[in-house]
Assembly symmetry: C2
Homo-oligomer: 338 residues x 2
Amino acid sequence: MTRNRQILLVARPRGEATADNFRLVETDMPALVAGQVLVRHHYLSLDPYMRGRMNAGESYAEPQALGEVMLGGTVGEIVASRSDRYRVGDRVVGMGGWQEYQIVDGDRAGALRRVDGTAIPLSAHLGAVGMPGVTAWYGLLQLIVPRSGETIVVSAASGAVGSVVGQLARLRGCRVVGIAGGPEKCRAVVEEFGFDACIDHRLHGDTRSLADALAAACPDGVDGHFENVGGRILDAVLRRCNPFARIAICGLIAGYDGQAIPLREAQLILLRRLKLQGFIVSEHLDFWPPALRELGGLVASGRLRHRESIVHGIENAPAAFIGLLHGQNFGKQLVRLI
Amino acid sequence: MTRNRQILLVARPRGEATADNFRLVETDMPALVAGQVLVRHHYLSLDPYMRGRMNAGESYAEPQALGEVMLGGTVGEIVASRSDRYRVGDRVVGMGGWQEYQIVDGDRAGALRRVDGTAIPLSAHLGAVGMPGVTAWYGLLQLIVPRSGETIVVSAASGAVGSVVGQLARLRGCRVVGIAGGPEKCRAVVEEFGFDACIDHRLHGDTRSLADALAAACPDGVDGHFENVGGRILDAVLRRCNPFARIAICGLIAGYDGQAIPLREAQLILLRRLKLQGFIVSEHLDFWPPALRELGGLVASGRLRHRESIVHGIENAPAAFIGLLHGQNFGKQLVRLI
């Protein structure tokens, strides 16, 4: 009988998320019934959006239930099948949660997506060729709509989403300026991911200082901005926006602990005729196939680079997740489970 | 020789605009040279955007120069012509400024627009069938894009722009809720302009109280919002927005005196996947002809109602303008000059 290890959400955060919010449990997997498959997870994805799901209050989705396995994207392999649709050895992406195994109904539409395990590393299906990559693709190409020669700014630029935004914008002929925390990340944003410049927000403790740094890095102003953080960073970027700039709001890490995030100079929306738009990539499923086609091709051919932070073992998922919320990861945060 | 009376901007406001910022002068009009026409203004339009032009700091347009005639929209009649394009008696709309007469080069493209003076009252070309009407039309139909059955909220609902927004939205099958200051305006918004409801923001001193009033007036939430004011009103509306609501930001009267206007809960942009977009109608000239066609037809046939506050005499323009900024007007604020 297969033993499964799972991480449950057992308490909602009061302020910051802590290790006490989670509990590791071991269970036996029941036998498969007709139509089911057993997926062994190779990697679990950790993503900032999960912090929002831990709250009981309003988010764009139902809160994660207490006492249940934390939700999350997974990639793995079919290790037993009583479904006609999947064979042992098939590699699949799903929302398997923070656990080592999952039983899935093979007939449930959208529950699993079969992926190629050769040209593209399996883990990339949780990053550049997965939800974070499609998030970058959709926000940049459908909302910001960059034109060659424009300047695009990306916050959390070394992250799984930000690094793809910048590379896609460069491929479309834009000047791309990242914002990241710390010299090591900023160096990688420029040297590995090919951004034109990267600003270390830790060197700029107030909006004015950050806005000055942006002015130096964006001599022609800002035409598009991909926001992952919010707060001071968004305030500073708005000051540098050119008329008709487009701002895609993908994440607001600054507010995940429940505090209000003010935008201090909303008059700039009118003065500069800005467009700000929030989005959730899971609501735009029509765009996943073309996005995954482009992203997969770029990763397979080496033109889109990605970086991963990998911890090993489901028991280390909570600490890695809390580190992610503090910006301690570097690139896509994964938990390896095999 | 024709005497002209003009209002000059002679000082920039420090905080609120005051009568001291303006000066009345009298001049003699020079003789026309070939190609010129002399326009006698019947009405001058007073509009909130003028407050922004009085500042030296950033706005979406060049500041009004000191010592020169205040800018403004006008409608009048050609009283002398040395142009082949215009004849004495022609009625024209232009940007004649705060003065009784203006000499215009008849060949300058866009300087004057000839209007019909029969089916539509002359003054309406400065209101519902002029810039304010086109502002309403563009923001509602091109940015909010209302669908039948949706709920649309409009601030400054009794004003020249807001009253048109609401009527156009009603004609498209929407539930329309206005926000205005004082019981008299609110009554007119419902009884004259046909809104479904109107909230008196003076009865709701904080965001929560206003948001509660909106919840009662918008049982199905808010799908579109036309913002003319900013500040507390925008904060309250955002709390009631449904997912995918569209917010057109047309004016931010709350910030015309130079103070920053915070938007207190920017996380709602992401949580509700909102789109906020600022616009200036003068940048969308392609839409003026279809907008004026629809608005002119609706006014001529009595299906679009408009209301005017009229003062008489150019010398009263500064006081009327300051009153407008304090919400003392009711409907379109005009100065009659004949």
